[in-house]
Amino acid sequence: MSRILDVQSIVAGYGEANVLTNVSIYADKAEVVSIVGANGAGKTTLISTLAGVIKPRSGEVYFQGERITDMPAHERPQKMLAMVPEGGRLFPFMTVLENLKLGAFPERARSGFNQRLEEIFDIFSILRERRGQLAGHLSGGERQMCAIARAMMSRPALLMLDEPSVGLSPVMTERVFETIRSLATRDNLTVLLVEQNVGEALDISDRGYVIDHGSIAMTGLSSELKDNPQVQGAYMGL
């Protein structure tokens, strides 16, 4: 199994404070890895560091064997690393189609755009209908789907998602998670899923990390974590 992502002893934060004190994680090819934890545990800081939006203070990040610790955020999509930020962050005054086009902005993703667009429309059929609509006018679920589709336009090797279930109804959440799972299977995609919705996230992932106060508190197969009474007590309200 080949290692896609290898994060070694990351320290990161904002201003004076360190949010992540010492985080090491990894993800292998075609693996769905979830990172779960409470609000403020450092999940978003971790994923932002991996996307290059935040620079780590120490530690290393390797992606497909290449050191990308200091690589600027805008160079990472070219390296097949994509992220769906919390809330999707679509470009509200652009159409769905324009948003998808921007997803294919990296040089690498521009050739075969039309074919890729058809593939994406086959997976996200609602977007085919909504292609001419302004992204700002989409419903919450459509918006999240569109954001995932946009990230997929760049044909990533690693897809990172920050809280894709936030603000969605349980039915919609389930559909989003199903889509994520099927993408991983279909494209041999590695997925890094950051979630507060611990139960659902562990349901669709192969492996999981529990993050607490800026460091990894527990790790293991998702099924094991799900059965762990500590996890159940602290995060799943059981």
Binding site: V53, P77, T95, S154
Partner: protein, 296 residues
């Protein structure tokens, strides 16, 4: 009654001037969120650039535009990179820096020229066209055309090209744009450069009409601020429509009421529009919108 159409023509021509001056200002605001107080000084540099070409090489200002506009685009990019970029996490400081640039550029030009007024008198600047009794000054007509071409061209560029779409993406959500692989700093640099280049274009085209002074940029930019707020901050179409509203209001108020009161009338229209639509006429709707979303 024949004067009525003359006044309409006058307002449209003046609107073209205001629109051209405002487009660059609005691009910079829409994309980078900097209120560039030094925009008028780039316009003034465009005027002096055209004058320099005219007085040293006998270059017609319209030909000089092909040198002056790229030069000011480049200057704008350098200024962004050296002055604005280091302050990008402090928006208030960027506004102060643009004000500092205003003083710096004015005083440098003042020191070089010694404050002597400069004018050119090209044969073309004396041409007027009379169509059905309505007079058009040829120089003003060219400015009107340039405004339409610049606004239309910029609109197409933003809508149709990859780089234009990248600029709009950055304007709407710079963090998400980064995640798409867009180099935000480079986009800012180009946007600032295009904005100052457009100011330079306005300056060049205005040169045959005015007597140059280092302070002249302020005369245009005060109106341009009204135009962009009226039309909607960040909107290219808004700059165009706002320009025509201010131009026509000024012409009608100046001719039918009193030239001394025309600025007061513009101010009344300005307040009335903002009361009805606080975001300006084109402040929020439409895909031509360069962006008005709060950045986080």
């Amino acid at each position: 009654m024949d004067q009525f159409f003359n006044v309409v023509a006058l307002g449209m021509l003046l609107g073209g001037t205001y629109a051209l001056v405002s487009v660059g200002l609005n691009l910079i605001f829409g994309v980078i969120r900097i209120v560039n107080f030094s925009q008028g000084e780039f316009l003034m540099l465009g005027m002096y650039g055209a004058y320099l070409g005219y007085s040293t090489m006998g270059l017609d200002p319209y030909a000089g535009a092909f040198i002056v506009v790229p030069a000011l685009t480049l200057l704008g990019m350098v200024v962004y990179w050296l002055v604005m970029r280091p302050l990008q996490n402090e928006p208030m400081m960027q506004v102060f820096a643009s004000f500092g640039l205003l003083l710096l550029i004015q005083n440098v030009v003042l020191a070089i020229t010694g404050g002597v007024g400069m004018s050119m008198n090209t044969p073309f600047s004396q041409v007027t066209l009379t169509i059905a009794g309505v007079q058009f000054s040829a120089t003003r007509l060219i400015i009107l055309l340039a405004a339409l071409v610049a606004a239309g061209g910029l609109g197409l560029f933003l809508a149709k090209t990859n780089f234009g779409q990248a600029i709009r993406a950055v304007a709407q959500d710079r963090m998400a744009a980064q995640l798409m692989g867009i180099n935000v700093e480079r986009t800012f640099m180009w946007s600032f450069g295009i904005g100052t280049g457009l100011a330079g274009l306005a300056g060049v085209l205005l040169t045959p009409i005015y007597t140059l002074s280092p302070q002249i940029g302020g005369n245009f930019v005060m109106a341009a601020f009204a135009v962009v707020v009226l039309g909607g901050l960040g909107s290219v179409l808004g700059a165009l429509v706002g320009g025509f509203i201010v131009g026509l209001t000024e012409a009608f108020a100046g001719y039918y009421i009193d030239p001394e009161l025309k600025h007061a009338v513009i101010f009344i229209v300005f307040i009335a529009v903002l009361l009805i639509k606080p975001s300006g006429l084109f402040g929020q709707a439409g895909a031509e919108e360069v962006g008005l979303r709060e950045q986080s």
